[in-house]
Symmetry: C2
Subunit: 276 residues, 2 copies
């Protein structure tokens, strides 16, 4: 591992996703841990991950972690629900540095929040099919009833920019109708794109259902993890850029999307060939 | 090149696409050239191609062609508009065997069909942005006015199986509205997924607009190309399977989709790692 930092705590955090969705997680880290530097990788050449298999997503995740390690990161955030669901448990034992996904923090808070023990999860086919949220929720609340629903059109609708569009409302109503006969009081936004549809989903589900955004909880979990490993950055040694962005394709489009949702202005997203 | 066939004309045809869309082209080849064997590759691990860059699509296409060559094919059909638009002209000079894409045959027939010289093209962002259809149409009809419209949600809607759905109708109306003020009399279905939405698109455009399905024309073009190179198969030496299918991910899902649109039953789609 390349580690050019005098003190490891000044090293950046590696954050990765299949594309732009993980920026909602990066955004939370920027807000909650303003002293931390971030190196973000979006796998825009192979997006989406949600319809692909466990083996493929694990292979892609390993390639990306190798890349982030080569950049000298001190910890890794898997800012993608599908990769967290499919690859994290497999990869963690291979890692020397702390690694955190988005599923466990989201599952924990949902298990704590629910009053009637009925929790809904929306996500990609991969995440929902893996049953990972059910498994993680049951660790905290073995009696909880968990209902999953894959929403494969949400990612392309968000990527098309139709965030407040009547078509998206219709698609959302269709997908969320599967929760109407249940009485869930908590719904996990189990894909990093979905917080961008948050207010629409809240309106359809009504005020009695609490939405859980795992991005927020993941940033909290990361904070604790860095403290445990004495890796928190107090904000010193910031000659290097705070935030760096790498993608496997279409850097300009990524940059524009990032600038529409991040609190800071990105000047550049660098293109790399992740397969090599 | 691995060439295990006594006579090259008995070798299969290699057909590839980003995923299932190219099966509409394979289907036309099966219908029009029933003596020909086919090896199909669907790049389901990296689908979709439509939002990715020229460089990435060219790299992916080269990898796939190398794989098909290793299977001893006698000719290659690029059954993907985006790959035809971005990679074909670059790759053709590197090839020893005949290769044909879907864009040129579709453009030619549209240029011949139009009466008022106004032609519409719908496709992915990559295909429409490349202006390749405009360029190819102008070779046959330099005065033609060509209007392009990217329809990025059509592929995920087809992959979701919402072929005759009110949401898909609404999305199609929205996209096709951009042709309302023009007076196009011909519309090219410039993505291999779109023939699966053909009747819906015809209904929205009305009876005065002729739809062009490049899959049909590509099979015609392939027939002529094989004849020119004396590579047509008269149907002899068929001990080997007529049709073989390879994918880079999610073989079971591919098989089910294929069986819903092909005239024959697929028993297996084999999984390979195309990056290696």
């Amino acid at each position: 591992m390349n580690q050019p930092y005098e003190n490891k705590k000044y090293a950046p955090i590696g954050v990765f996703d299949s594309g732009v969705g993980g920026l909602t997680v990066a955004r939370e880290i920027m807000r909650q841990l303003p002293g931390e530097r971030i190196i973000y990788f979006g796998d825009t050449a192979r997006v989406p991950y949600g319809s692909k298999s466990r083996e493929t997503i694990t292979r892609y995740s390993r390639q990306i972690i190798r890349f982030l390690e080569s950049k000298g990161v001190k910890a890794i955030v898997v800012a993608c629900n599908t990769a967290s669901a499919f690859a994290l448990e497999k990869i963690r034992p291979e890692m020397k540095m702390p690694i955190i996904g988005v599923v466990k923090p989201g599952a924990k808070v949902a298990a704590e929040l629910t009053k009637n023990g009925h929790i809904g999860v929306i996500g990609t086919e991969g995440t929902v099919g893996s049953q990972i949220y059910t498994e993680m929720i049951h660790r905290h609340n073995p009696q909880a009833v968990v209902l999953g629903k894959a929403c494969p059109l949400f990612v392309p609708l968000v990527e098309e920019g139709w965030l407040k569009d009547s078509v998206t409302v219709e698609v959302a109503k269709r997908y969320l109708a599967s929760f109407q006969e249940s009485d869930i009081d908590t719904l996990i936004l189990g894909c990093t794109h979905y917080p961008l549809l948050r207010s629409m989903i809240q309106e359809i589900m009504g005020g009695k259902v609490s939405l859980v955004n795992p991005a927020y909880e993941t940033a909290q979990g990361l904070k604790r993890l860095l403290e445990q490993h004495q890796l928190s950055n107090d904000g010193g040694q910031t000659r290097e850029p705070m935030y760096q962005f790498y993608v496997s394709d279409a850097a300009e489009k990524f940059k524009n999307f990032a600038n529409s949702i991040l609190p800071c202005e990105i000047e550049e997203a660098q293109l790399i060939h992740i397969e090599e």
